[in-house]
Structure formats: C-alpha cells, structure tokens
Amino acid sequence: MKRIRWSFLLLAALPVFVSAERLFITSQTDARISVVDSENLLLESDYAVDSGPVAVVADRQRNHLFISHPELGLVTVRKLDSGEKVTDISTGGQPFAMVLDDKRPQLFVTDWDRDAVLVINAESLQLVDILAVGKSPAGIALNSEGRRLYIANREDNTLTVLDADRARLIATLPVGRGPYAVNYNTALSQIYVSSVQDHSLTVIDDDQLDAIQQFEVGRSPYDVGISEDGSRLYVVSQNDNLLLEIDAANFEVLQTFKTGEMPESVWLDVVNQRAFVSNWFSDSLTIFDLKTGASLAEISLARGPRMMSVQ
C-alpha cells in the first residue's frame, strides 16, 4: 500500500516541475478547486474544499494555498503541491478577496461584512490585525514597491488607500458606482477600479492620488488585468460576455474576446501571451491567444467559477 502511494506521489509531482505554471480556480457553488496546466491548457486536477470558496492565493515560497470562504468566516490553508489541508484560519466576518505581499509575510483579505481588511501573517498563519476601510470592501490590490494597498469599497463608491506596512490610512477617493475590482499598473503608477453599477473604469494617478479619467467599459466590468509592460488593460465585462483589450495610453478598445457566459476573472500568461477567463454561468475557463485574438480552448470547471491564482 505504501509503495503504491509513493510511486503515485512521484508521478504526480513530475508535471509540477515540468510545466511552467499551474492555475488555481475556485468553484464557489460546488466548493472545489480546479488546477489547470497553463502551458498545455489541461485540467490537471480538481478537489473538494470547504464550502463557498471565492478567492484563492498561491504562496509558492511557503507551499501554501489560501482560500477565502465568506459564508464560513474562514480562510483555509492547503498545501500548494498536494492540496492537503494545513489549517483553518477563523477570521469571522465574510473574508472575500485576498492579496499576498511579496516583500513581507502578510496576506491581506477584504472583509465584506465588517468593512475591514484582515491581515494574516503568512508564516504563523494567524490573524494579526483588522483595519477599517469603507463599506463592503470587495477587490484589493497591492503596490509592492510603493508599499500601498488599494481597496474597492462596493457600497460607498470609494477606494481606500492604506499603508501596507503600518495601520495608516493614506486616502479615501471617490470612484464609480459599485466598485468591485482594483489593480495597480507598476509601469504607469496608475490604479484602475472597475465599477459594476455605472459600468465605469476609474483611472487614478498613484502619485497625485487623483482620478485622471473615468469612462464606460461595457456592462458590469469585473476583473481588470494588466499586461506585463503596462501598456494594455484587460477588462472582463460580465453582462457583455466579453474580455476587452484596452490601450493604457488612450483607453481605446483595441480588441474584444468573446468569453463564456457571465465571465468573472482574468489571468494573463505573459510568457505565452494568453488570457485565461473564468465564466461563472458557463462553468468554464476560456483561454485566448492575445496576439491572434483566437480562442484556444474552453475547459469545463465545477459550478460557479470565481477567482484565480497562479503558482
């Protein structure tokens, strides 16, 4: 019995080192994590987790996978390579989106229910702080060099800017109606906030902490991806079933990609120039070639796919 297990482990471990990157996707309705080989565009594995997973963050350095479960008031931690449960971090509230700091061992989690950002020590796996933000915080992004955190407050139409190292409020800025996702463009020092109710994208200059522009980007914009050089934005339009490629210099739409139904999140594979989009209604992942505009594959997932993270 033992021998069989070992050989299985060896076989299972091989693709991890061979393939470039593995993509982890939550399926909230079915409570599963799907692992996709981003090089070969294949579903590698799929395993059950605690109920209602929304966000997932891979911590490659410590071999951990963090998963938020808003309805359980829980962040669960699993082994990145095996999927085996490490521990439960009982946060209370409704932990939603998460971002991992690459400079210090901290995981930041928005808490939709308590209007707060939770700080979890990524080494001790303990909840260490609760920071007040605006109402119903959804998306969160980190400016690692500038040591700032950006939080989209869904119910008060603002963006909170926090100091990533100390519990210090830097600014609260008005954005569109129903802000959901936020991302930071290192190359241009710009913050992007998508707002699902007025269908807008707000562009904020990080130095001035002032909005440069706000424009409509399709019905119910959700996730916002940024190309490696910062020249292109990729906005998921949930009600249009589209991924929009936008020029970051003039905000013109360069290209549109037809996704599955009610797309949620986008991840960009910079090496292969591909975009991965999770489709909430279609229960699938669509992969596009950014250079040719072609749809390369659609992978079926467990029901209710939401957010993604790469190893």
Binding site: S136, A138, W280
Partner: protein, 174 residues
C-alpha cells in the same frame, strides 16, 4: 484619528454582526429556464423588448410605473411594496434583453440583487425563450432566516422566470 474611530466601529461590528442586505459575500445563485413558444421570433421580440409592458404579459406583475425610459417600478401580486428594475441592454439584432434589480425589497422578492437576461432563438416549433439570471439571497449575512435563505431566493427567482415564460406564451396565444 478617523482610522482609529473606524477601527473601533469595526470592532463593534464584530460584536453586533448586523446583517447587510447590500453585501454580496455569499454564493451567487442562478436561474436558467427555457420554454419554446409557438410564435414567430419577431412577435415574441416585440413583446419582450417593450420594457414598460411587462405588466401586460407577466402574471405576477400587477403595476408598472416607468420613472424614465430604462427604469421600471413594479408591484408583485399579493405583495405590499415595490421593486425597481433597470434596463441594461436591449439588442434587437441578437434578440437579447437584460435588466437588473436596482432597488430591492426583500418582502416582495427575497433577493438582495439580481441580473436577468432573456434571449430568443428561432427554432422549428417557433421561438425558444431562455430566461437566465444571477442573484443573491435576501439576507446576505452568514446566518439568514429561512425566508431569506438561498433556497428561498432560488424558489422565488425560478417562479419569476417560469411565470414570465408561461405568461409570454399565453399573451402570444391570444
């Protein structure tokens, strides 16, 4: 100082655990209903595309008040309050219309938010109408009472879709 005060209020929130009907932390639910109507797609589209006329064909909708071209306040049979729906898109070419809940009343429909899309497709027997939606339960806190649970929301939204589809069929058969 403001932050310190906010942190205090957050701590109070931990104790009070007030439910927030606007929050979307819980699992979004779905409705996906189809019905083939023995009617021409152009005729079905004419009925569906008129955002102000839902009261004429949806058996649950008793009163419709348009506050502007894309906003309707509707009353539901047997319920006291009103809900407000907002038109997102009406695409005659694709025969597709989508709208969302702009102002909820969980005593009318136990759902805190929804978006609904109606898609028509010509088939041999007439027109296939697909009614799809994404929504959140009435009480989005982590301990919802039974009448504001996921199950209650699914039941209400499925009925809203089924009744709508059957109402369309009856209205077009006239």
């Amino acid at each position: 100082m403001k932050l310190a005060r906010n942190i205090f209020s957050v701590m109070m929130g931990v104790v009070i655990l007030a439910s927030n009907v606007y929050a979307h932390g819980p699992t979004p639910q779905r409705v996906d209903e189809q019905l083939v109507l023995s009617a021409d797609i152009d005729d079905v589209w004419q009925v569906v595309a008129d955002f102000s006329s839902i009261g004429d064909w949806h058996p649950q909708v008793t009163v419709v008040e348009m506050t502007d071209d894309t906003t309707r306040v509707i009353s539901i049979e047997g319920q006291q309050g009103t809900i407000t729906e907002s038109l997102d898109e009406s695409d005659a070419e694709r025969r597709y219309i989508s709208f969302r809940l702009l102002r909820e009343d969980i005593t009318v429909i136990p759902v805190s938010f929804y978006s609904i899309a109606i898609q028509l497709e010509a088939v041999d027997a007439g027109t296939e109408v697909t009614w799809r939606g994404r929504f959140y339960r009435g009480d989005t806190g982590n301990f919802p009472p039974e009448n504001l649970s996921d199950a209650a929301a699914v039941e209400a939204m499925t009925a809203y879709a089924r009744n709508g589809l059957e109402g369309l069929q009856q209205s077009l058969a006239k």
